[in-house]
């Protein structure tokens, strides 16, 4: 068990933010391109000083994901990545690395597992919380209560399309930190961070006092630098995967380091 989790995700984030202006969260689709590759990715994250990690459980209908992650989900499933393999990896990672690990996925996996069992498994695997891309807060009350009982934080999303009232509602239910999406659409495509993102994050700040993560389309070290001062956590997903595919393990390590360099 890592200290991060027992301290609660929010405290962990705040503690680290006391030491550096921006945290970095990175993403892995478990099972893609392989479990071994995933382990190498995690080691690279650890080596680069990544602050938080989301591990995605692949699903057949990833409606919030863009082309790269859709393919990764599909190929991971084709390769037979099941719950067992997923939790084996997360448990090993939680033991080995110090960064907090979040479950990321779609609600059907939780629904099929059962909320209780889901929370238990996350707990047992040493994870800190979860992001469910298609579970709106009004459907999540029971699950979230159960999670908090196990010191798991449900990470909620705020989006540029949300009304102030909706942001406030999400703010009331959020814990750990809030995942703010930098633009409309799904994961993957580049975002122009100069276009209204600051104003959007202002609205988010009004709705919550939790730390804010900014994700969707953050792809380069320059992007991460721009997030500084805007949000507390820069979330990089698709870009990591694409670098792995284009530049291999070494390039991946290198890439994470240049990202992390912008957070200190």
């Amino acid at each position: 068990m890592t200290g991060a989790r027992t301290a609660g995700l929010e405290s962990h984030v705040r503690e680290r933010l006391a030491k550096k202006p921006l945290l970095l969260m990175a993403h892995v689709v478990v099972g893609y391109p392989s479990l071994d590759a995933n382990w190498a990715m995690l080691e690279a994250m650890d080596g680069a000083g990544v602050d938080l990690v989301e591990l995605q459980l692949p699903f057949t209908e990833p409606i919030a994901d863009g082309p790269s992650f859709v393919k990764a989900n599909h190929d991971a499933i084709q390769a037979g990545t099941a719950w067992r393999a997923y939790f084996d990896l997360t448990a090993r990672a939680a033991t080995r690395f110090s960064f907090p690990i979040l479950f990321m996925g779609y609600y059907n996996s939780v629904f099929r597992m059962g909320a209780e069992r889901f929370c238990a498994r996350l707990s047992e695997a040493g994870m800190s919380g979860f992001i469910l891309a298609d579970l709106p807060p009004e459907e999540a009350a029971e699950l979230n209560a159960m999670a908090r009982g196990r010191e798991l934080d449900p990470i909620l999303l705020m989006t540029p399309t949300n009304s102030p009232a909706r942001l406030a509602e999400i703010g009331r239910q959020a814990s750990g930190f809030v995942y703010c999406t930098a633009r409309k659409g799904v994961t993957g495509r580049k975002t122009d961070l100069s276009q209204g993102v600051a104003a959007f994050l202002e609205r988010c700040r009004t709705a919550t006092s939790l730390p804010l993560g900014l994700g969707f389309g953050i792809k380069t070290a320059a992007d991460v630098r721009e997030v500084r001062g805007l949000a507390n956590i820069a979330i990089v997903g698709t870009a990591c995967l694409e670098v792995w595919e284009e530049r291999g393990a070494d390039g991946y390590r290198q890439f994470l380091k240049t990202l992390a360099a912008e957070t200190v």
Partner: protein, 420 residues
């Protein structure tokens, strides 16, 4: 016809639920969009002028009301219940899909959005949506699995001719469900100026309610027509069930008539045991789950991964089922049956020869169940079969299913004429 706003015994409960099923499970990004749509739809269905304008458009543009046809030759052949057929095949564009798209089109006009997107599997809903978009002057993008594009070229051709942009979906199984995902993704980006014309009674609330509302025109017409034709209500109503829109539409007219048994017919494919089918309820193989924005019964494995489905009828080949139907099944109000590919081809053949009707392969599933059960009913009973679409769109599939040699020769000659 009166406005069915108050005739909604199936109006959803909390958060768009029908019993255990329904809801809206979408990325937060779409939350306001769905709220806006719910508001627009609620406003429209409380406005008597809206239903009137819908009926007017369906009458002057799409050819409604569609008739109910008594089939004496089939009746005599099976020697039991008198068989009546509701003729959704006579709609403009050839299927009940027209009802839904024109209804949503009118709503889009109210909302003032200039663009629509839609998924399509067999291509029927894509052609219907492209047609509506051309008529109402909307930009239109149709998402269609790459696999389906290859199989259903004729519909792709017409969509393009109607001015739609057809986008090949290369994800997942590259079929209908992946096209739905692609639409949800487009919409998460484009919602400000775009409406997603979902093709069946699935997806997040308010789609199941809204599509049922528009399709209920089938059932309301049919109920009146059956009373006119026979002086009483039918004993049973049969409809094929893909997502469930034609079934929900025709059943809607009879939901309060407890003497009328409602029978939904799913695709038995190569047989339930073969694993190659789409029988979510009839086969007992479906499990509750949440996908593509709604909670219902899906064909999925133990860990919630959706399974490959199969049917000779592309329009039935889908993992989920409308939440209202899942609930009506659970409450025992709708009975579910399945029909195999080979039964379907036989029923199609018989219906063509006996009555000069060419049901779509989808619709032929409903005929199978009616034929199976008619002999055990009495001639005092009438049964109604919903012919959701016409089968001439299926010529490539039907000719293949029948192994027609003349057709193969024709295609070979045609291909040879295209060689450069």
């Amino acid at each position: 016809m009166t406005m069915p706003a108050e005739l909604f015994p199936w109006a959803p409960g909390r958060e768009g639920y029908y019993g255990d099923f329904g809801g809206a499970f979408v990325p937060e990004m779409l939350h306001e969009t769905l709220a806006e749509l719910r508001a627009a739809f609620d406003n429209a269905r409380r406005d008597p002028a809206f239903w009137k304008s819908y009926v007017e458009v369906m009458s002057t543009y799409a050819g409604r009301p569609t008739p109910v046809t008594y089939c004496d030759n089939l009746t005599r052949r099976f020697g039991g219940a008198r068989i009546y057929v509701k003729r959704e095949d006579l709609n403009h564009t050839g299927a009940h899909k027209a009802n839904n798209v024109m209804g949503q089109g009118l709503l889009v006009q109210r909302m003032g959005k200039p663009r629509v997107i839609a998924e399509t599997g067999a291509g029927q809903h894509g052609v219907a949506t492209a047609t509506m978009a051309a008529r109402l002057g909307l930009a239109c993008t149709i998402y269609m699995g790459e696999e389906d594009i290859a199989r259903q070229r004729p519909n792709v051709f017409w969509m393009e001719q109607l001015g739609a942009d057809v986008v090949a979906v290369t994800d997942g199984t590259r079929t209908l469900k992946d096209a739905i995902n692609a639409c949800l993704r487009d919409w998460a980006e484009s919602m400000a100026d775009t409406h997603y014309v979902l093709g069946t009674v699935c997806g997040p609330h308010p789609f199941p309610q809204m599509v049922t509302y528009f399709q209920s025109i089938i059932g309301h017409e049919a109920r009146t027509q059956m009373l006119d034709a026979t002086g009483e209500l039918p004993r049973r109503v049969y409809a094929c069930v893909g997502g469930g829109s034609n079934a929900s539409g025709v059943f809607a007219g009879f939901l309060d008539d407890l003497s009328v048994e409602l029978v939904g017919v799913e695709a038995g494919g190569k047989g339930i045991d073969s694993g190659k089918h789409t029988a979510r309820l009839a086969g007992g193989k479906g499990r509750p789950g949440v996908a593509q924005g709604y909670k219902s019964v899906f064909l999925q494995n133990e860990e919630g991964l959706m399974q490959d489905t199969y049917s000779v009828a592309a329009g039935l080949d889908y993992i989920g089922i409308g939440p209202m139907l899942a609930d009506l099944h659970q409450r025992g109000r709708v009975r579910f049956e399945s029909a195999t590919d080979s039964e379907v081809v036989e029923a199609l053949r018989l219906t063509m020869r006996s009555e000069g009707l060419i049901p779509a392969l989808e619709s032929a599933h409903a005929f199978v169940a009616a034929f199976r059960e008619a002999p055990s009913l009495s001639s005092a009973d009438a049964v109604l079969v919903n012919q959701s679409g016409r089968g001439d769109k299926d010529i490539f599939t039907v000719a293949d299913a029948l192994g027609d040699e003349g057709w193969k020769d024709f295609i070979r000659r045609k291909a040879a004429s295209y060689e450069r």
